[in-house]
């Protein structure tokens, strides 16, 4: 059986703890998080605001450093930002002084060992993958919010990172655009076999996209429960089976929150 073989996970988190010193004193954002993310897995981290999920993603991206514990990418410790872990942010973070194609090329140009032609080809390939091949000369402000997020997706995929990190990239979009993007992401995920970690507060979205859903509870952010989602892809957000699974996760979440209030 394949499972008997020892496979190095794409990302390993061991007892990760992060504290901040803010105006309100010392705050523990995430505490003692241990998690293996498999190669080619779509992992979703879900939880209410204040559960430290965005902090966790910043730690994975290397934009923040852990206080305790370690994060390994393959076998290398994560300390600084790097091309192997690209991030899609809540706002698209496209550079307004570059056009769509140049935005996608930005990360590619930082990747050594490619000719300019290969970079162009790759940028155009990913733009067509997100359905924006005809918009390469447009400036970000000329596009709708959904299109901009698609460009951001192409920009993060183009340098072919080992892990794609998504920080609530759909939360600022309208429902219709969002549903469309869920479809796109799943299609790309199936096609490109990427390891993706998505952070969100939207439980339906989590169940729709994730192979596994990790539920975090707030103050401090800890892992409460992990759900395996075995629904066939492509999944549709309105699927009744998906909705009932989402209800289960929601119930688990609210029981944890009530527990916290009563104690």
């Amino acid at each position: 059986m394949i499972n008997d073989k020892v496979i190095t996970p794409a990302l390993t988190l061991r007892n990760v703890t992060k504290r901040f010193v803010g105006a309100a004193g010392r705050v523990t954002a995430v505490e003692d998080i241990s998690l293996d993310v498999r190669e080619g897995e779509f992992l979703v981290i879900v939880g209410p605001s204040g559960c430290g999920k965005s902090t966790l993603l910043s730690l994975l991206a290397g934009l923040e450093q852990t206080n305790e514990g370690s994060i390994l990418l393959g076998e290398d410790p994560v300390r600084l930002p790097g091309r192997d872990r690209l991030v899609m942010f809540q706002q698209d973070a496209l550079f307004p002084w570059l056009n769509v194609l140049e935005n996608v090329l930005f990360g590619l140009r930082l990747k050594p060992g490619l000719t300019e032609e290969e970079r162009l080809e790759s940028a155009r390939y990913y733009l067509s993958l997100v359905g924006l091949a005809d918009k390469e000369k447009a400036r970000p402000h000329e596009l709708s919010g959904g299109m901009r997020q698609r460009v951001a997706l192409a920009r993060s995929l183009a340098p072919n990172p080992r892990v794609l990190l998504m920080d609530e990239p759909f939360s600022a979009l309208d429902a219709l655009t969002r549903d469309q993007l869920y479809g796109d992401i799943q299609q790309i995920f199936t096609k490109r076999k990427k390891t993706i970690i998505l952070v969100t507060h939207n439980i339906r979205e989590a169940v729709c996209l994730g192979d596994r859903v990790v539920l975090l509870s707030p103050h401090p952010g800890r892992i409460r429960e992990v759900f395996d989602i075995n629904l066939p892809r492509p999944r549709r957000i309105n699927d009744p089976e998906l909705a009932s699974l989402a209800a289960k996760v929601t119930a688990a979440l609210s029981s944890h929150i009530n527990e916290g209030v009563n104690s």
């Binding site: 991206a61 290397g62 934009l63 930002p81 790097g82 091309r83 872990r85 690209l86 991030v87 942010f89 706002q91 973070a93 550079f95 307004p96 002084w97 930005f106 990360g107 930082l110 990747k111 400036r139 970000p140 402000h141 000329e142 920009r155 340098p159």
Partner: protein, 256 residues
């Protein structure tokens, strides 16, 4: 009926000049102190023909451009340094803030003693007029670059000089250009002050021409030169800064 936009300003200007001309000719005012528009225009024409005006304008504009270029070339890296390094911001940054409020004509005595009545003295005054405004503008606009752009750039592997030249600087550019425009205005004022205040032996600029007009009691010359000074400032804005700012804003969707 909708008139083309330049019609009303033109009509008003003609009326204004007409009334002025008529009033001076009625003899109610001393023509030596208040020359008529036709007198000013006559001076304008004559000094254009004999080359005096053009050569003075060129001397002044050359000083302005060189001084401004030096001031901006020094101000941009210094401003970036202020934004990047805390202790430089706390020292040079604060100094720049203070010196920016110092009227640049205050530099003239110092410049004369250090450099003499020469080109370098004027340039020094112009540089001092420009540099602090540019330093402050660059510092402020670099500090207010959205952190999101930095995070995005860094996760894509940009760092050090690449991050500065490809993310921070382009993001800060609109603010930097506004600062340059302000620096330009300060440079222009300080140059005029210097040229009127002292005789610069190495060149006869617009300020000197204006000053000479006063000494010769030629008010037509004084007012004519003032018109040119206003014109140069206006042209710099219309030809250079306004289109640049507009382009920057439009291409980023901040303006239509």
């Amino acid at each position: 009926m909708k008139l083309p936009r330049p019609v009303i300003p033109t009509l008003l200007a003609i009326t204004f000049l007409g009334v002025w001309e008529w009033y001076v000719r009625t003899g109610h005012v001393n023509e030596v102190l208040v020359p008529s528009p036709s007198h000013i225009f006559k001076w304008f024409y004559e000094s254009l023909i004999n080359g005096e005006l053009l050569s003075a304008t060129w001397v002044t504009i050359r000083r302005l451009m060189i001084g401004f270029a030096i001031g901006a070339a020094l101000g941009v890296p210094l401003g970036a340094l202020c934004a990047r390094v805390r202790w430089i911001r706390d020292t040079l940054g604060v100094l720049a803030l203070g010196l920016q409020t110092l009227p640049s004509v205050c530099w003239v005595p110092l410049a004369l003693l250090w450099f003499g009545q020469e080109e370098s003295a004027v340039l020094f005054v112009v540089v001092m007029g420009t540099i602090w405004a540019v330093v402050i503008a660059v510092q402020e606009s670099v500090l207010s670059v959205q952190p999101l752009y930095l995070r995005a750039g860094m996760t894509m592997g940009s760092q050090g000089w690449h991050l500065w030249s490809r993310v921070i600087f382009p993001a800060a550019l609109p603010g930097i250009v506004s600062g340059m425009k302000q620096g330009w205005a300060f440079a222009w004022r300080s140059l005029m002050a210097a040229e009127i205040f002292v005789v610069i032996l190495t060149g006869f600029g617009l300020g000197s021409l204006l000053h000479a007009g006063r000494e010769l009691l030629r008010m037509d010359q004084v007012m004519g030169v003032m018109t040119v000074v206003v014109g140069v400032g206006l042209l710099a804005d219309i030809i250079f800064f306004a289109p640049l700012e507009r382009w920057l804003r439009c291409s980023r969707g901040l303006e239509r």
